[in-house]
């Protein structure tokens, strides 16, 4: 897993609540047996017109979205299915961090395992952020994981919380399976009592 420390980037704004994983990556793209190429299918049904061309009105296709590594989206982002193809597609597009007022449970777990940082901010901060980015789309945000802060230029920095375990994993690029495999003795002892 890639390490995450400090990310400075422009952001894409998608201010829609309850964006479900079927929108992030429609089911017809789940027939893959690897994780490759899913970035091109991200938000497919919103991003492409029926003839397959890019929908110029969709935010991901705007010139200022290219190269952005942060996505700001509405409440309860990632609800619905458990498909990890959703974070794979987001990461495949180039996103490294997501900002919302809340994330769906399974999605949040999946995102963290792919070096994708979910940042939860309060409703007020979210509204202000959207406003700012809509009027100044070139704004560069800074997400500082060690300090657990989000900097918006010209504003007071916003503190966000993350559990110590996930933070360490992200900072060091540690994968959880390695951690679990290291607990072999405890797992065996537990199994003896089954």
């Amino acid at each position: 897993m890639n390490q995450f420390t400090i990310l400075k980037s422009r952001a894409v704004v998608l201010p829609v609540d309850n964006i479900d994983t079927d929108q992030i990556i429609p089911a017809r793209f789940l027939k893959v047996t690897d994780k490759i190429g899913l970035g091109e299918k991200l938000f497919s049904d919103w991003r492409y017109l029926p003839d397959g061309s890019a929908n110029p009105d969709f935010v991901l296709n705007k010139p200022e979205s290219q190269g952005a590594a942060i996505l700001v989206a509405g409440d309860n982002f990632g609800c619905g299915s458990s498909r990890e193809h959703a974070p794979w597609a987001l990461a495949g597009f180039g996103f490294r961090a997501l900002i919302s007022t809340s994330f769906a449970d399974i999605f949040r777990n999946n995102a963290l395992k792919n070096g994708l940082l979910p940042v939860v901010v309060g409703a007020d901060s979210y509204r202000k952020l959207i406003k700012k980015l809509e009027s100044e789309p070139q704004t560069e945000l800074t997400i500082d994981l060690p300090e657990q802060t989000l900097h918006v230029p010209g504003e007071a920095s916003i503190h966000f919380s993350i559990d110590a375990f996930s933070k360490t994993c992200l900072l060091n690029g540690v994968d959880e399976l390695g951690y679990l495999l290291g607990l072999e003795d405890q797992i065996s002892a537990y199994e003896k009592n089954l």
């Binding site: 201010p15 047996t33 509405g74 458990s82 399974i106 999946n110 679990l180 607990l183 797992i187």
Partner: protein
């Protein structure tokens, strides 16, 4: 001893270890696997040269991409795979299971079916267990008093390799379902009403325990429908305390405990119920005595109304986000505020899925369709949740009822619930569906879904439009 909730009893028994400031290491009793969310997990095992730790606690099926018809419509013809990729994914599953020694209910198996249908019907699902699957509707198994939830593919790999999962302890919420359902109102309507009340994010961070008189009288299949859609409220899992209904359902199933073991299991299962005086972090009450059949009008399962109701006006919503969410949904659905859904034309009716594809669901639908015809304007697809369900339905003559009415009687699988196997809506088509998700494009790109119970779905097929199923029951 401090009184404990059902959740807490299961949780405490399954914590292998917990380091400070770290999630618990939770032991998994049953790992269900399907072809869509597992290939990357098996590749991960190979890359690290790992084995499956407990093949004996792992059960696989092929359901999401499985064709439900043959190419020429004959009984033994070639299965109509959606495309080469789908076929390859299914073959990959067969290879993975063979290589890692996992029991697979595959294309050839007489017990193949949707993962959440076969787990219970084969007796794998048992009270007090921890059950996971790379599938959000794993919540279904909570109907048996098992802590069951969906996980991602990375976690599938973790469980395959270590039989454990890293989990933070969720909060608990008691969901009291009070009153008695009137005829024609089902547990599907109950869960739709609950999600409408609390919203699709209303349960985030919680495990629900469904309680109350309405739940006590539900059959196991009705309870499974209720728990199945818990995830649509954002909750991690839904639980129901095991009781005589649970034991009766499990008795004699292929993998249920037998003989002395059965007696011991019952004694253990009886102790699982939440203790008197145990506290929950939160509590919700839903009164169901006046509940009517529910239908969704929007693009998430919280956007529903009683069958006689009217579509809400986005301008009347509380905040800007809700307003724009509703507008976007109505725009996609081609509906207008204030409109009634009654008499709205329907192109396709889909009866099936892990929510409502069990034998009791098919019986309900058949009870309305018996001696009637599907509207010439509408196509009705009936897809049993498993081969066992299919055999049982055929033994009861339900397949004849469906076919005589003009419906398509298919092979078992997820089918049009997720539209990966070639069964799908065309852009713009309207469907009444007994499945669980009405998201944009869920049943096929551009397709528009109304979620409802099997009764409401059957009535829609007959009328060719959305209609109250209850008058059909009286005649």
């Amino acid at each position: 001893m401090t009184p404990k909730t059902l959740f807490r009893k299961i949780w405490d028994r399954h914590v292998v270890t917990q380091q400070p400031d770290s999630p618990a290491v939770l032991y998994v009793d049953l790992h269900l696997v399907h072809e869509v969310t597992s290939p990357q997990a098996f590749s991960g095992l190979r890359a690290r040269n790992l084995k499956v730790r407990r093949p004996d606690k792992t059960v696989a099926t092929i359901d999401h991409g499985v064709p439900t018809r043959t190419e020429d419509g004959s009984k033994n013809g070639r299965l109509a795979f959606a495309d080469e990729m789908s076929l390859r994914q299914i073959r990959q599953m067969e290879e993975n299971c063979a290589e890692f020694g996992i029991r697979l209910y595959g294309l050839e198996s007489e017990n193949q079916g949707i993962v959440h249908v076969i787990g219970p019907e084969l007796g794998f699902t048992q009270p007090g267990m921890t059950i996971v699957c790379g599938d959000s509707h794993t919540a279904t198994h909570g109907a048996f008093g098992a802590l069951a939830f969906g996980i991602g593919s990375s976690e599938v790999e973790h469980v395959l390799a270590t039989q454990c999962l890293l989990q933070w302890q969720p909060k608990t919420c008691a969901v009291n379902i009070e009153g008695r359902l009137s005829p024609g109102v089902t547990s599907k309507d109950v869960i739709l009403a609950l999600i409408r009340q609390i919203g699709v994010g209303g349960g985030v961070g919680y495990v629900f325990e469904y309680r109350g008189p309405a739940v006590q009288v539900m059959t196991m299949e009705e309870r499974m429908t209720l728990c199945n859609m818990t995830i649509e409220a954002g909750a991690r899992a839904g639980l129901i305390a095991p009781d005589e209904n649970t034991f009766d359902y499990l008795y004699g199933r292929e993998f249920s405990p037998k003989g002395e073991q059965w007696e011991r299991s019952i004694a253990h299962w009886k102790k699982l119920a939440t203790d008197e005086g145990a506290t929950f972090d939160h509590e919700i009450t839903l009164k169901v005595s006046d509940l009517e059949p529910m239908v969704t009008f929007g693009t998430n399962p919280a956007m529903s109304i009683p069958i006689g109701g009217r579509i809400p006006d986005p301008d009347a919503a509380d905040d800007e986000a809700q307003k724009s969410g509703l507008r976007k949904a109505l725009d996609y659905m081609g509906l207008t505020p204030g409109q009634s859904l009654a008499d709205h034309p329907v192109d396709v009716v889909f009866i099936g899925s892990c929510t409502n594809g069990r034998i009791s669901d098919l019986r309900l639908a058949a009870s309305l369709l018996r001696g009637r015809k599907v509207s010439p304007k509408t196509r009705l697809l009936v897809v049993p949740g498993s081969n066992q369900v299919k055999r049982q339905a055929e033994a009861e003559g339900l397949d004849r009822v469906f076919k005589d009415a003009g419906a398509e009687w298919r092979e078992a699988g997820c089918s049009m619930c997720i539209a990966m196997n070639g069964d799908q809506l065309e852009p713009g088509e309207y469907a009444v569906s007994t499945s669980n998700r009405n998201f944009e494009g869920r049943q096929g790109k551009g397709g528009r879904t109304f979620l409802a119970s099997p009764l409401t779905a059957a009535a829609a097929a007959i009328a060719g439009k959305i209609t109250d199923p209850r008058p059909f029951m009286q005649s």
